[in-house]
């Protein structure tokens, strides 16, 4: 790992800036991530040995032809996946986070950090409601929002029509910064695909399409063990989802290419993690024969395909869908399953969630803790997946609008807390973790913007 840092000397200045104020934690991160990484690699390797399947192999020509023919309907394939299991699930990852401790830190000394009764025991700085209100000022009560002010009871002349007009202007001028500001109030459905592309700086150039085609060729020529994990994940999650089952084939087309895309490795520069390595057969331990495995350095976990699924509602051209997803991943999603002290990293999000709950809904928090239902155990999976698969798609897209608009994932923690606040009455009556899970099992009817608005701006603090 030290070797990589010296190679990335130009990027170090950026890393330092990003980890500003948290240099203390870099050692902690590396240790924690290091042991976690070892675990998942071990899991991957043992699956490999058990099933006698190599991590990677070149496909025979006949198989290549077959795959090319079936490229648009890989979903109809029924490979035997019964022996494969996801390398890890979000709850495994949560256990790792719970056990994070900073060895340099002593609880007793600190006066500034209140006793934290949640699961996360790492004292990172998180925002409180007044700070969140400042940050998310455009979500305020007196500002028009899509997701609230476009409902059927509200005449469109009041907000919606004008908002659409402004959106069209922003697109006409191709102004990325303006688009990002604009989308904080939500995007009209008809403009969303273009707005997201503008904000993410995706324009389908011929070289982008070519790049995607090259990845596709890669998939055809080589078979990776990770492919089976991807298949399994799609079959377990998206294929059974009421909204996303239709797009099953697109998911394979995106994820198989994604796992071979080495340009994704560059995001590790902003990540204290490092991509897992593997060695060419027979050359174990020899650095010259080390390759990143999978080539993009990302081992998919249970539910990973749900990052892609909602995007299928917006983009039906595979290479564009691919680019958008890749950019979303390296900007946002990677932070949800790696350890860092970044304010949008999953550790901070968990802490933000717990702190919000403990500070502003103390009765609920204590009650749940008493009955053995630590709130984070329920909300963790929502945040790791950025709520994909839990909310109705139109609501999810409104939420992801704000992620793009504010360039931050903190809104996920705020929403999680808002959901608990919304169901507080029922939660106060439960007496077990299972019952609490049941109260929060179905989020598909929730309207996210009113929940967020009320939690941030209409709750007495």
């Amino acid at each position: 790992m030290l070797q990589e840092e010296s190679d990335l000397s130009l990027i170090i200045a950026q890393i330092v800036q990003k980890l500003k104020g948290s240099n203390l934690y870099s050692q902690l991160e590396r240790q924690a991530w290091g042991s976690w990484e070892k675990r998942i690699l071990k899991s991957l390797n043992s699956m490999c040995t058990e099933l006698s399947i190599p991590l990677a192999r070149k496909r025979p020509v006949g198989e290549q032809k077959e795959l090319l023919n079936k490229w648009n309907e890989m979903g109809t394939d029924e490979p035997d996946l019964s022996l494969f299991r996801p390398v890890y699930a979000p709850k495994d990852f949560l256990e790792v986070l719970i056990n994070l401790r900073n060895p340099n830190y002593e609880n007793g000394d600190s006066l500034s950090f209140r006793t934290h009764l949640g699961l996360i025991q790492v004292p990172l700085k998180v925002k409180d409601i007044p700070e969140l209100k400042e940050c998310f000022v455009e979500l305020g009560l007196n500002i028009g929002q899509l997701g609230i002010d476009d409902s059927t009871q509200v005449p469109p002349e009041l907000f919606e029509n004008e908002h659409v007009r402004i959106g069209q202007k922003v697109l006409a001028q191709q102004d990325s910064a303006a688009a990002q500001q604009y989308i904080r109030q939500g995007s009209p459905t008809a403009l969303r695909a273009e707005l997201w592309a503008l904000i993410l700086n995706i324009s389908s150039q011929p070289e982008d399409v070519l790049y995607y085609e090259q990845l596709k060729t890669n998939v055809i020529q080589h078979d990776l063990l990770v492919d089976s994990l991807i298949y399994k994940d799609v079959k377990l999650t998206a294929s059974n989802d009421d909204y996303y089952f239709v797009f099953e084939d697109y998911l394979y087309q995106v994820l198989l290419c994604f796992s071979r895309d080495t340009s994704v490795l560059s995001h590790f520069a902003f990540n204290s993690a490092s991509p897992p390595k593997s060695y060419i057969r027979g050359k174990l331990g020899l650095e010259e024969y080390a390759v990143f495995y999978p080539p993009n350095g990302v081992i998919p976990f249970h539910g990973f395909s749900m990052y892609v699924a909602p995007l299928c509602f917006l983009y039906h051209e595979p290479s564009k869908l691919y680019q958008i997803f890749r950019e979303m991943y390296v900007r946002f999603f990677f932070r949800l399953h790696s350890i860092s002290s970044h304010p949008s990293g999953i550790v901070s999000l968990c802490l933000l969630f717990e702190t919000l709950l403990q500070t502003y809904l103390p009765q609920l928090f204590y009650h749940l803790r008493e009955i053995g239902a630590q709130p984070l155990r329920i909300s963790f999976k929502w945040m790791v997946r950025a709520f994909s698969g839990y909310l109705a798609t139109d609501q999810l897209l409104l939420l992801w609008d704000r992620i793009l608009g504010y360039n931050s994932l903190e809104i996920l923690a705020v929403l999680a807390a808002a959901v608990f606040a919304f169901r507080a009455v029922n939660l106060m009556e439960v007496t077990s973790l299972a019952a609490a899970e049941a109260v929060l099992a179905d989020l598909s009817t929730l309207k996210v913007m009113p929940l967020l608005q009320i939690f941030l701006f209409a709750t007495v603090t």
């Binding site: 309907e73 109809t76 009209p188 008809a190």
Partner: protein, 404 residues
């Protein structure tokens, strides 16, 4: 005074029975005094047949119109639509306008384009078609395998040649059709309601137009009953999407105006089909009917009517499905049997807005005529879908129709 409603049914479905029971209605047999009979289409034939001599009293309601087959039998539907079109043409109605190729601009509703009594299929048809035996009186035998012509053994056979839509709209590479529920409480004046929660039924197999695939039943026929036997059928979502998903997808990928236009056209097709059969329908005051409309959309976002079912399936393929059908029956009963009390057929069949549930008024002839009938024609011609597209601001009016 107000006794309990007595109900009978010959369709043993839980979504029905649970709804009757939750209203505290009492189950009786068909030989006793009943108020409400949810019957199959076979039974309605018996009830209203001349021989049966059945007289329904004022406090009895049934869930079918006596001659619903004018709408639900494909050959009769085609006949009625043709007659309707001719009448409009004679009146000089702008609705019957045709384009340069002689095609109806506004009334080219359905998939079917030819009605035949014996079939002589050209050897090399230009476009593939499906032959559907509309009404079976007797079997037919192939005369000659080379020319593929059939001889009917009786003059009483009706076939419908359907234009095969070989450019259906595909989503995720899959073909689908739409199932929409429409409740008609009276034909004259026409009063119909559209259930907001229709759904799309997806094929489990990828669609390819190559002829070798024409044999694959699962690719082309999207009815769930058939899809269920395909290998890939999923019991969680049942291959179904809500209409609101479809709307979100189309708005996001194609734009809002064309999507609104599509939905407007779908509503238009349904209302026109009902108007076409209204004159010949026996508008018995004891009757209401809930139809299942099957519609397919092509890749130019034009909807086509495939068929209308008088007895849409009440079997549930998934948990969501069960909830949907339960609510469908619930809302239907709320409209057809006001307040859940013993019905009186003399009532004006105008339920208050609050009981509509998930139904929306699709077309109310009385209201429309109150506004002036030519309003409909003017706005349809103008196709002004701008500010009035989508949601109407008037409460109590027909919400769905911008062209009313």
């Amino acid at each position: 005074m107000a006794g309990k409603v007595k109900w009978v049914t010959d369709i043993e479905k839980s979504v029905l029975i649970n709804n009757f029971e939750k209203r505290g209605w009492v189950q009786v047999t068909e030989n006793e005094d009943w108020n409400f009979y949810w019957m199959s289409v076979q039974t309605i034939r018996n009830v209203f047949s001349v021989e049966a001599g059945y007289r329904l009293s004022d406090d009895q309601i049934v869930n079918h119109f006596p001659n619903h087959y004018e709408l639900t039998r494909k050959d009769l539907m085609v006949k009625n639509i043709k007659r309707y079109r001719k009448e409009l043409e004679k009146e000089g109605s702008p609705l019957a306008e045709k384009d340069e190729n002689g095609k109806y601009l506004y009334l080219g509703l359905c998939v079917f384009h030819r009605l035949m009594f014996s079939v002589n299929i050209p050897r090399r048809p230009v476009q593939p078609w499906i032959m559907i035996l509309s009404h079976r009186f007797k079997k037919c035998v192939p005369k000659d395998s080379k020319t593929s012509s059939f001889v009917s053994q009786s003059n009483k056979e009706a076939y419908v040649i359907s234009l095969y839509i070989n450019n259906p709209l595909l989503i995720g590479g899959r073909k689908f059709d739409l199932r929409l529920y429409v409740l008609v409480s009276t034909y004259r004046p026409l009063r119909c309601y559209m259930y907001k929660l229709g759904f799309c039924r997806f094929c489990t197999v990828k669609y390819t137009p190559s002829t070798s695939e024409l044999d694959n039943m699962f690719v082309h026929l999207t009815n769930v009953a058939i899809q269920k036997h395909g290998e890939d059928y999923n019991h969680i979502h049942g291959g179904k999407w809500t209409v609101s998903n479809l709307r979100l997808y189309l708005e996001s990928t194609r734009g809002k105006e064309v999507t609104s236009k599509l939905f407007d056209e779908i509503h238009w097709i349904i209302v026109q089909s009902l108007k076409a059969v209204a004159p010949v329908m026996n508008n018995d005051k004891h009757c209401f009917e809930c139809y299942g409309y099957d519609i397919i959309i092509d890749d130019k976002l034009k909807p086509w009517l495939i068929e209308v079912n008088a007895s849409p399936s009440l079997t549930s393929s998934t948990a969501n499905d069960r909830i949907l059908k339960y609510n469908l029956i619930n809302d239907t009963l709320n409209i057809a049997v006001p307040n859940g009390e013993i019905p009186d057929c003399k009532w004006n069949k105008s339920p208050p807005k609050e009981v509509l549930g998930n139904y929306e008024i699709l077309y109310d002839e009385e209201l429309a005529q109150g506004d002036g009938a030519d309003r409909e024609l003017r706005s349809r011609q103008g196709q002004s879908l701008g500010p009035r597209a989508g949601r109407s601001r008037d409460s109590g009016r027909a919400v769905l129709t911008t062209w009313k």
